[in-house]
Symmetry: C2
Subunit: 221 residues, 2 copies
DNA sequence: ATGGACATGTAATTTGTTACATGATTGC
DNA sequence: GCAATCATGTAACAAATTACATGTCCAT
């Protein structure tokens, strides 16, 4: 198979890995100073993690917290009557911190995965109305601008805080990433326009040469 | 919950949507001229789709093809004795083409999802060895360069072909995307270096001011 | 008193993966 | 003859989602 997928996952024993990335992400959330509830974790993931890694469903966060506790990587305590609401707060343990550090230092990082529904539609553009397509790209641009504002907020919150320099770097990366997402979309808009209006301006100077009729089974391309 | 997730998925009836994006992606693969086998589809997805949307496992492709056929969106035929190998080739039907066009024109595109394991580790950098972290970023850069070469190949294969202009646009977007991934990584490398070596050069001039000790529950940041 | 945010969880279901099993054909 | 690629599928499982159920606290 052409694409090298992730490592074969040794058939026996539970190495210090053996947990899905989501579990490590949740444990990572817990690795910053302070205790927090599942609910808080979800909000934080929505506001920050999601920009470079994805925010799990709240029900999954609760499930991962239970698993982490079962492994001894986290402890929880129910709030006593001193606190208003009854809730369960989690904290990382030394074992959890060690396991997380081991995972973070581990070898295979794995390739980033991008699922871009807009691109899927552009790719299928031959079936769509050109104007509708450009409209969708414009909506994407608007959505991206809104996200950019959110990451900048998150970054502002993280700035000036000690021991938050790495989250800051991740958020700075996210800001730049969204900025580039914007220019990527603009460029694609130009490409899309150049399709209907093949004026020499957009270097769409493919001279219709070698117009091979798309034969059966185009051997992928 | 803060993050607006996808639409509530109306409880009754099968609208022209109601299929996971993967099914549409597979049907999309089929929407280009020619018939092909599941195996060919997988290779094509690895070589092209994966750069902007992800390549399903081969077993899932077979499963989706069966589902699509069950819905009348595709037809299949076993190769007769005239062909060397016994295989099953699929083709899109008119109903499938119509359904796909309806989906492509549909309203909600949904936000792109990025899962970037490297960023997860950078975010957790306080637990890791700084040199090891930079090393991982460098590996990412090498991997990205290799991918860039692959997309350029795919683009070269698609160029000059008629009725492939939209896939071309998607691939051009992917080329630019990977190029920007490269500069993003370089910039992050600088950020990471600036952390250990806070010489004024890297504008890391945060004056340590307002060194709020990270209090309990930092209200996400 | 009512709606919204806080808070936690269960159950059913879907999506997707890996491992396994099988066999034909092609090129060396 | 042997390995690689072509080709198709099943089964077991893991990951993750949505829908549902329940209840509290706070502000208007």
């Amino acid at each position: 198979m052409a694409a090298p997928r992730s490592a074969p996952r040794s058939t026996s024993s539970q190495q210090p890995d053996e947990l899905p990335p989501t579990a490590w992400a949740v444990l990572g959330l817990l690795s910053f100073p302070g205790e927090r509830t599942g609910y808080e974790l979800k909000k934080w993931a929505d506001a920050s993690l999601r920009f470079f890694y994805w925010s799990p469903a709240i029900s999954q966060i609760y499930a991962e917290l239970r698993r982490l506790e079962g492994l001894g990587y986290a402890t929880s305590r129910r709030s006593g009557p001193e606190e208003p609401r009854t809730k369960r707060t989690y904290a990382i343990t030394e074992a959890g911190r060690a396991a997380l550090a081991g995972w973070a230092g581990g070898a295979d990082v794995g390739p980033p995965v991008l699922k871009h529904p807009l691109l899927l539609r552009v790719w299928l553009g031959h079936l769509a109305d050109p104007d509708g397509l450009r409209e969708q790209v414009n909506e994407h641009i608007a959505r991206t601008r809104a996200e950019l504002a959110q990451v900048r907020e998150a970054l502002a919150r993280a700035e000036g805080l000690e021991s938050w320099s790495h989250p800051q770097i991740a958020l700075r990366w996210s800001v730049r990433r969204l900025e580039s997402e914007l220019s990527l979309a603009e460029a694609m808009l130009d490409d899309l326009t150049g399709l209907c209006d093949p004026s020499g301006l957009t270097d769409n100077t493919a001279p219709t040469a070698s117009g091979q009729p798309p034969e059966d089974s185009p051997t992928h391309g």
